[in-house]
Symmetry: C3
Subunit: 404 residues, 3 copies
Amino acid sequence: MNKLNLKWILPLLFLFLAISPIGAIAQENAAEAATEVVAQTNMMDTIQHLSDGQKYYRAIHIMAMLLLGFGFLMVFVRKYGRSAITATFLLVSVSIPAYILLMNSGIFGTEKVSEIDGLILSEFAAASLLITAGAVLGRLKMWQYILLGVLFIPAYMLNEYIMLGDGFGLVQSGSFIDVGGSIVIHAFGAIFGIGVAISMTTKDEFNTEIEADFTSDRFSLLGSMILWVFWPSFCAALVPLAEVAHTAINVILALSGATIITYLFTTWLRGKIDAADIANASLAGGVAIGSVCNTASPAEAIVIGLVAGAISTMGFALVQSRLEKGLKLIDTCGVSNLHGIPGLFGGLAALVVIPNINVSAQLTGIGLTIGIAIIAGLVSGKILSFTGKRKTPYVDNEEFGVDD
Amino acid sequence: MNKLNLKWILPLLFLFLAISPIGAIAQENAAEAATEVVAQTNMMDTIQHLSDGQKYYRAIHIMAMLLLGFGFLMVFVRKYGRSAITATFLLVSVSIPAYILLMNSGIFGTEKVSEIDGLILSEFAAASLLITAGAVLGRLKMWQYILLGVLFIPAYMLNEYIMLGDGFGLVQSGSFIDVGGSIVIHAFGAIFGIGVAISMTTKDEFNTEIEADFTSDRFSLLGSMILWVFWPSFCAALVPLAEVAHTAINVILALSGATIITYLFTTWLRGKIDAADIANASLAGGVAIGSVCNTASPAEAIVIGLVAGAISTMGFALVQSRLEKGLKLIDTCGVSNLHGIPGLFGGLAALVVIPNINVSAQLTGIGLTIGIAIIAGLVSGKILSFTGKRKTPYVDNEEFGVDD
Amino acid sequence: MNKLNLKWILPLLFLFLAISPIGAIAQENAAEAATEVVAQTNMMDTIQHLSDGQKYYRAIHIMAMLLLGFGFLMVFVRKYGRSAITATFLLVSVSIPAYILLMNSGIFGTEKVSEIDGLILSEFAAASLLITAGAVLGRLKMWQYILLGVLFIPAYMLNEYIMLGDGFGLVQSGSFIDVGGSIVIHAFGAIFGIGVAISMTTKDEFNTEIEADFTSDRFSLLGSMILWVFWPSFCAALVPLAEVAHTAINVILALSGATIITYLFTTWLRGKIDAADIANASLAGGVAIGSVCNTASPAEAIVIGLVAGAISTMGFALVQSRLEKGLKLIDTCGVSNLHGIPGLFGGLAALVVIPNINVSAQLTGIGLTIGIAIIAGLVSGKILSFTGKRKTPYVDNEEFGVDD
């Protein structure tokens, strides 16, 4: 019953926000936008619109990554495919409106961004949330994913505000280098997820195997490829127009390096190729190139990709099972190996790649991100575990009206 | 034999058109375009090309929706996957050239549009046709989908001409508000499809269950996500450059609202989550926001999405089986619940959202669309039923060279 | 052991290149690009960036074709899905960096292209390589796909240099018409692949059936649709901004024509519909329109598509088995029917479509491409066969850690 109430609170919250002052602010913005359109009489405006218009396509590419990419990557759990996709739908549908409404409320900084930049920032938040969800995939009830989103977004926005918006004066504005989000998106999401997993994992879950099969692997590789294809747009989403092509090439080179080394390492470490390694660790190049995606040289991009792919594959093949026993947690999708370690590596790589980087700001930023993520994750996991547990993890049929 | 002749008429028709005066007009346009390229010497031209160039990407996004989105959404029928995809291929491949050729013929109005606008308009027609086909999916022979396309396109263009091109002076030009096609694309396609289904449904079809399974559900959810991701480009395809971002955000908010409410309603109404509800009703927000996608405020967009998702889920869970018995028809994909009712709701929502809307023109437009669609659908269904029936509905192996 | 060494040579080669003078050149380019950004103060620069920015999206569309399109089209082999996807990942990840590094080395011509043009050219090379790989799919060990890429790229670049870069003065610069790559991408890749297959095919392979099933067919049709959707961006990738829309419409009309005729011919020639014919021959229109995609009229585009689809379907249904016995080779994906013959047809169609074409240059170019491709393919196949053979073709579990 308590749960039922929780379920109904969310749409009511939406309705409330829709008619509240926050909604009204958004409406004013819309009115301003409409006025601007009428006033658009000179060429500079048109060129600005053309430039913003191009960002729109990067925003759509990121949306493809969120729903199709993350969603299908998580379909590798054989009997949990419908649930993984539905959860992805819900996580995106909660986090993007929540981010936009909170942003318009001005709680985290007052800097105004354009509509399209706001959309892209909300998608970044959704990406980070999906990473968090990957850590506990299959072990939440469906409505708990929604609750996870509601708990996650404010914490994410607080961290983003400190790192990039000069929040509380902790990290000097413009000093923390993380254009493509290795730290604020990937590492934050992964560490938050580990925090949730620590608070939540039960003994039963240790005894339940996570099964993949022939077809779930193909769906998972589909999701992986979609992430690979559109990753350049993720990293280049907010870089200046003139840097888009260079950024894209760097991202592609990093992903290529990671993909090749993943194949070599999975064969070397396991004797045979592991499809999950290919689907996941190949993407570590994209994670790690994030911080320096627009400033690295092509040669640096390849090397970052090779290193990231290698450490990610080692994480999946060697570290994961030990880490899980040591920390008493299950990380369903291995997000610590794909987003956690490679993300931190990417943030640190900036110290080598960027000349005259503010070392102290970069290290402070990384440290604070880890701290905020782990604390917020542990607290969120505790709250989630108070609201009940699934009977059987990793199966659709506990909640879906099917029996296969 | 009669059927064989029909099959061969279509490519001959193509060949005829290719060498006919209609083709020649198209060729002239091409020549003009080529001359324009040569003459392009000043910056205003370049900026126009840049703006048109951005429309191109929205056109490609719509194509992804047509083939991948609608195509795979319809793969939910377990044993009919190859057929659903092949039918989608054929419906798109017939309707786009047919629309372009008829448009160039000038039968429906003489207004000239740019090449890229023509392509987008033809894709809108194809979308509407795919909705119609969804109503009778699995119950046409493969070549009958082609015939359906040939019957559908002129009716669609007649309706479009009346609503948006001042055809016969029935609806004052510019007064009917339907930027993203809630009425002229979605409702028209759904009602046309209901008309076809009424004329065609047999008793045998009532006794044949439409089976889904584990894997067909995952494919269907893939199609659904592709539609969700690219829906902003569908609605924003023809809006002015400066309104693209605002339109996109509205569409995303409407889809988010519909997705969340669909989860809540499917759980509430059925006790368990229904994968088909998630795959379909989540998209009702995109259907309903169409008419006012560029003018609504974000708050209005969320509310429209919530309402649309709710009524669509109620349609699937409560109304469909009664409607089918009452009207003696099977609506295979439930297009009345996804495109019909939410489309009409979207068109009516414009009466609330748009200040100083021409109420009479809006209501006249909606009424005429319903009338034209149902009559043309009934007639088309009659014609289709004269050309023969499948032996067994919903199976690939009646027409494909396979036996699984 | 020998093989193990080979495997490790590749990443070392990457590392070497990354720190070598070639890498340094790339780095200089990056520095120049960064300086340009700073210097970008006037509007003409911005407009150039906007135009290049639009090319970026076509480059991403092509990447979707390479990984998702070609990758999933090849998943039709039932038990080889994970391998086909992994091979696609590796082929792309080797060929794009290799092309970019060799291009920056200046071995094949010294003409400088922009970063984004360089990326697109490298993707064209990857597409051609994937076509080659389709001919021997399932019969290489995983690391041999990497070796195939290393052997292929220099041969491809040599041919490209002769056809389009005035290499050795063999084909007059600008005289050879092949905007969308019917000859230099599709026919070259197919014929190279036939060459490899001739050198490699064993008797055992003739006795092993290539099995598809219900689900592998659906994945393959997914890949096919992705190729169809983004094909306009492939052909229009490097055409002037003002010709993009016209080119896109031509490609869509050609694909539509091919799709319809494929359905008619597969039914006519086989009695029933063959899913592989639909997935493959429908794309022949895109292959064949390549050479004249920006210059053909819409009517010509439809006719080219109809003819290409017809000959491709006849190839799959009638010619393939005879050709394989005659030439003692297995062409796993039938690339000769999809890319070989339709590609050559497209190159020849330019003789009819383009007024005042340099007939001799066009025929010389086609002839030289055939010659270079077959010789380089035969040699590469010989080299590959020296490095060992798989035990069982077309199965994942020889190399993957799974047993289904």
